[in-house]
């Protein structure tokens, strides 16, 4: 009885990860993150991903504020923000977010505000999809830990 809960949850985790890799949402860098997690740093993946979320949301907020301004013209600043997003996304294995940021960055070099707003929407969409998937993954892992921690008296 005990084993089933853990096994089923592990299967759910594996299935979710496989799907995310298959969709190209994550790439092998995410596996590298997992390999860096161990007993001395048991929450490494969770911590890094959350730092990524904080940093990214600040950048996305700034981008939106900049672009909502009709008088906006500082496209170089857009590029700088996007460089950061590209960098941190590739660091955690967020392949699709990284790719749409790169596309957005190229488009921003055309100095077209509305084009940039469209680019930003795509990035925001991919980012939120990733965030939801990560939350689901962390929840499953949390449940699996709990299930594995249950001990029936012998």
């Amino acid at each position: 009885m005990l084993g089933l809960g853990v096994d089923r949850l592990q299967a759910d985790i594996n299935r979710l990860l496989a799907s995310l890799f298959h969709q190209g949402v994550l790439d092998e860098q995410f596996l590298q993150l997992q390999q860096l997690q161990d007993d001395t740093s048991p929450n490494f993946v969770y911590d890094v991903i959350n730092i990524y979320f904080d940093e990214s949301e600040k950048l996305l907020r700034n981008l939106r504020l900049l672009l909502m301004d009709r008088e906006f013209s500082d496209f170089k600043k857009i590029g700088l923000h996007l460089n950061q997003l590209v960098g941190s996304s590739s660091s955690i294995g967020a392949r699709r977010v990284r790719n749409v940021c790169v596309a957005f960055r190229s488009a921003s070099e055309l100095n077209n505000r509305l084009g940039c707003l469209r680019g930003l929407e795509v990035v925001e969409h991919e980012y939120h999809y990733l965030k939801n998937m990560m939350h689901e993954l962390f929840q499953l892992e949390q449940q699996r830990l709990l299930a594995a921690g249950v001990r029936y008296p012998m």
């Binding site: 001395t40 990524y52 940093e55 955690i92």
Partner: protein, 228 residues
């Protein structure tokens, strides 16, 4: 104190992204390195002790400034290229221009693969250029670079420890030196030692070029200094 006894390498990692700092820190820990992370080039220089005005030749300054080998031994600097303010390249230049730190190996990281950027950094003295995301395998390439400075610093420390015991007994017989300002008086011995240690690694090659053997210098000076 006791840095010579530590078997771990100490790496200074510089990156403006907290996410990347966490990652490089973990990678370095996994590689059994001690890590200090800072968020900018100027913070890195501060950590090294390279503040403006600290690099003077004022004897009073020297005795109060951080004694490099004992307090802030850094075996490698690994820095992001793209940072606001001082870029990784700017930091690299500053380190290589500093007499005290030019021998610390510097590695540059970047998420952009720009060949011109890479060659510029290597030309300026960077040991390696890593494309992000950095992998554990990349860090394995760094051990030989760090080993070089570690052994050098250990040797200098041992010499210094030995000479501290002898200051009361030995009168410096530093003759025929064309590179160091010689102050033969006892109370200036410490000043000479400190100066020589920071110049040591720079002068080693110079002295070898000028035909002065460092080994000969060692035996002549009874362990006070390793180079002339």
């Amino acid at each position: 104190m006791g840095m010579a006894a530590e078997s771990q390498f100490h790496v200074l990692a510089v990156d403006d992204s907290l996410c990347d700092r966490k990652l490089i820190e973990r990678l370095l820990q996994k590689s059994s390195c001690q890590v200090t992370t800072v968020e900018s080039g100027s913070k890195a220089l501060e950590f090294l002790g390279l503040r403006q005005g600290l690099q003077s030749n004022d004897p009073n300054e020297l005795s109060t400034s951080p004694h490099i080998h004992q307090e802030v031994e850094v075996n490698l600097i690994i820095t992001d290229y793209c940072m606001p303010g001082m870029t990784g390249y700017d930091l690299l230049k500053k380190v290589k221009e500093s007499s005290a730190f030019k021998n610390i190996p510097v590695v540059i990281m970047s998420s952009e693969n720009v060949p011109a950027r890479i060659s510029r950094c290597l030309e300026e003295g960077a040991e390696e250029f890593f494309l992000k995301p950095v992998r554990l395998a990349d860090l394995n390439k760094l051990k030989p670079h760090m080993m070089k400075t570690k052994l050098k610093n250990q040797k200098l420390e041992e010499i210094e420890e030995a000479s501290k015991d002898e200051t009361a007994l030995v009168e410096p017989e530093i003759k025929d030196s064309t590179k160091i300002e010689i102050l033969p008086l006892q109370q200036d011995l410490q000043l000479v030692q400190q100066e020589e240690q920071t110049l040591c690694t720079n002068n080693k090659r110079k002295s070898m070029e000028e035909g002065i053997s460092t080994d000969r210098a060692l035996t002549r000076f009874d362990g006070i200094t390793t180079t002339v």
